[in-house]
Amino acid sequence: MSDVVEKTLSALPSLLSLDSQAGAGKLSPSSKLGNLIKGITELTSKHEEERLIKKELESIKEQVASPNTTMRQMKEIMVRAIYCEMLGYQASFSYIHAIKLAQQGSVLEKRVGYLAVSLFLNETDEFLLLLVNTVLKDLQSTNLIEVCMALTVVSQMFPKDMIPAILPVVEEKLTHPKEIIRRKAVLALYKFYLIAPNQVQHIHSKFRKALCDKDPGVMTASLHIYLQLIKENPESYKDLTGSMVTILRQVVGGKLPLDFNYHSVPAPWLQIQLLRILAYLGKEDQGTSEMMYDVLEESLRRAEMNHNITYAILFECVKTIYTVHPKSQLLEKAAECIGNFVLSPKINLKYLGLKALTYVVQQDANLALPHQMTIIECLDHSDVIIKRETLELLFRITNAQNVTVIVEKMLEFLRLTYNVWFIQTMNSVFSLGGDVMQPDIPNNFLRLLAEGVDNVEDRQLRLFAVDSYVSLLQGETAKLPQRFLQVISWVLGEYSYLREEESDPGSVMRLLARLLDQRHTSTETRSWVLGAMTKLCSSPVYSGSLNTVLRQKAQELMILSQDTKLRARVLPAEDSSLSFLDGYVSEALAAGAAPYKSPHQRQEDLVQEKALSLEPYGLSLPVSLSSCSITDRRSPTLLSMSSGLSGNSTELSHQEGSTTLKLEGVKRVWGKDGYLAQQQSAGETPTPLVELPSPLLSPQSPPSQTQKPSSGLEPDQEKRQLASSLFVGLGSHNSVCLVRFPSTVWLFIKHCQSANQSNVVKALFKPLPLLLPVPLTVSTGDYGKMWLSFSHDLKQNLQLVTTEHQEPLTATLDALKGKLHLHVVDIIGSEGIVACRLLQGPGQGQPCLLHCRVHADSLAVWLRSPVPELPDSLLYHCQKALTET
């Protein structure tokens, strides 16, 4: 295929005129379909196409309705109808004729009829009921081809409720002399098992016969069923382990007919299926696992040819080895194998290597260590899919020491990929996460906004943030967390100028002023707001504003801010406890500054250290900050503090190494009052709060531009540093401590991949989708006790599932049980009690109880749990499960 000459559509018309062209006999350009296709390719606009198809559909409609149309013509018409549907035009009038063709046509016409039916209809379509008798008839036909067609259509779609009607006949086919029929029958039964497991329960023994079928194809087909059965209930099938191992050994050893080889690899699909089955059988079962070690090792060894298909087997093999009871020797080999994937220059293999690593680091985070540099490289890969997979890997090795860097990388990824979405998401994160959020998160967020070259894209992102905050502030602000308000203030102060043209310049100022006036605004937040206002008033937008009051205030503020003496006279500070600095101090603390130590304490420290540190800045930085400083010396909170409040070019002087000079300055202003330590460690200059030299005030110069922390480093060295901050803490302990926030961000990343943006934003307000309930087996008595002790509850009516064979309550609970793995404790009359426990997510390991009562046409559900989020999130999943049923 790779050497196929590329023939594009543009060449089509000329090709069509050449009858001698290869495959021309099959092309049949003279047929009606040929004419239609040819006609369409000659068109130049969508509009013309619509017109042509409309005409075509009308002609088809006329023909199918005519009593003179033969089945043979009908077959040809149906192909054209399929074509129109594929182009996106509805030909629903032809559906009934497709069924008719399947019913009444000869074998070949029937084949097209069945094809059209399987393309046009869904298994929920009522039309399909018309087909049941035809299928039944064809299944019993003496013509093998008709039987095959019927089995094919049955496995593609069949009304669930009609399965009993054809089940005996399909079952009979399991003993058919032709292997192709047996194989298709097995697959049809597999399909029945998937959509209605209860219906095929009685023929499990026949599945065993299929497993032992002398034809490898039939045996392979039966493994689909076994994989499913074993996945659901591994305990009942442990006795099959020996057989599965034997089959795999034979396959790997090349005992199957050569026909089953694919690129010289024996039956790869079968091998993979068997490896999956072994994984389920050997999971958490040492005895069973020991039976398969040898064959797993052999699989690893045999799959050495350099072809995709062997890598596919290897990948599955590694997964199995890491799923079953561990054997160190095998694990080593598997890890080596993963290494080959990761290091491969082929991008697909690299991807799978990252994926495999992501699996295995959950068991042993150290496995990531040998691949640090590759992982760092993948983090900057041009393919966003690789990048994303790398982030997932990093997410799995997050611990308390590297959380800052990893979250930062995640946010960077988000920003690059989804601008608007990113801001909206972060708004939600801030609104919901609020003040309990780790200070790193707002820091990193602000840094992301501030970083980067001042290109159009960055500006758009900032403008979008500003706009979204302005509209937020115009609404109810009382509920916004303080930390979010601080972020808002900073962004507005820094980037409001971007919207100057489109709005009244005073509006942002008024919004900020409103914040200041509000009682619930904390002192800390007030200082941020003031900082923002100060920045704003220096902007020509305000100082030159037509609004005289605003202009006067702005000018006053500007002058006062530049003239300390004047300010001291006009606004004397009478606060001897310096409480006006409280916000500032806690800000600095939050940003990582060392806490205040009394002179007495400091004396003690000095005695311990025996030496005066000449570099108090670096030494006093806490771990998290120093790790994030690998790529950037400061956290954005500090950025904002320095640019927004003090504004002195600390960073520059810092880099020049003028430590001593600054220390002197500090002393002069503050004496020995103790604030010195905090000021220093936060990287601040000791200038008074509102002394604002203008250069840095200017919003046009994002703070990040004033510094290039890693400029002196070689790129490689930079990577090494990044590696050391990413993989910090991995070697030291094995248990991976997952910090909660990365998982939130990770979920967002997952989300934005899996859904469109509006859904994502909606999803944010829904419970986390990571909910993984497992059955909680309790007695009715224990249930009662637990019920009384749980404080968080929720009531809601759900829709009932109705089936013919079961009580609505039983049916609904069964559906929930099946989909969500809940444990039905008891059913008493019209009431049922259900229990589950959560594997992951916010309420890990915590129980949630459900009390269900049938009430009129709905199910009144009452959920209780010790964790507040659980009932809500479980309810959401119940609703989802039931609507899907």
Binding site: M1, S2, V4, V5, E6, K7, T8, L9, G23, K26, L27, I37, R72, I82, M86, S106, V107, L108, R111, L115, N122, E123, S141, T142, N143, I145, C148, S155, Q156, M157, I180, K184, L187, A188, L194, G217, A221, D259, Y262, A267, P268, W269, I272, Y280, K283, N308, I309, A312, T323, I347, N348, Y351, L352, D383, I385, I386, K750, Q753, S754, L772
Partner: protein, 169 residues
């Protein structure tokens, strides 16, 4: 590690699409019931995503809650949606095997063959994958089944009793 796998009902293929570089759909096979409107939306969205990918990029995508595995052969994109925890490489080989089958059947297949004989392509696919699961991995037997049926086509004029006899044979 397997907890995320255990809750899924099955791991079969959700759908397969063939479309051209120009974004024209050439074949679509859905293995799970999907509303017509959703199908159209998904096809459109997916084509956009896949066509925007550069040649050197990897063949896998995470899209909605699915894993997309795609490969370009000449002017045609073959694109499969499988469950997220499925083996991507083997799916890539499913595509490749299908292409091989088409190639063998049509004799150096090109997009035109599939445009004009899409129903044949569907028949081959149905013989290869059944309900989204690999049915027959042997190239020979898939084509044998198709050719058997095709043989009937050429003798379409002959009376029905003969057809039945052939089916018996």
């Amino acid at each position: 590690m397997l907890s995320s796998l255990a809750n899924k009902l099955s791991s079969k293929m959700r759908f397969m699409l063939l479309f051209s570089r120009q974004g024209k759909l050439r074949l679509q096979k859905w293995y799970t019931a999907t509303a017509e409107r959703d199908k159209k939306k998904m096809v459109r969205e997916l084509m956009q995503v896949v066509l925007a990918r550069k040649p050197k990029m990897c063949s896998f995508l995470e899209w909605r809650d699915l894993k997309i595995v795609y490969k370009r052969y000449a002017s045609l994109y073959f694109c499969c949606a499988v469950e997220e925890q499925d083996n991507e490489l083997i799916t890539l080989e499913v595509i490749h095997r299908f292409v091989e089958l088409l190639d063998k059947y049509f004799g150096s297949v090109c997009e035109l063959d599939i445009i004009f004989n899409f129903e044949k392509a569907y028949f081959i696919l149905d013989e290869f994958l059944m309900g989204g699961e690999i049915q027959d991995t042997s190239k020979k037997s898939v084509l044998k089944a198709i050719e058997q049926a095709d043989l009937l086509q050429e003798e379409d004029e002959s009376p029905r009793s003969v057809l039945e006899e052939m089916g018996l044979a």
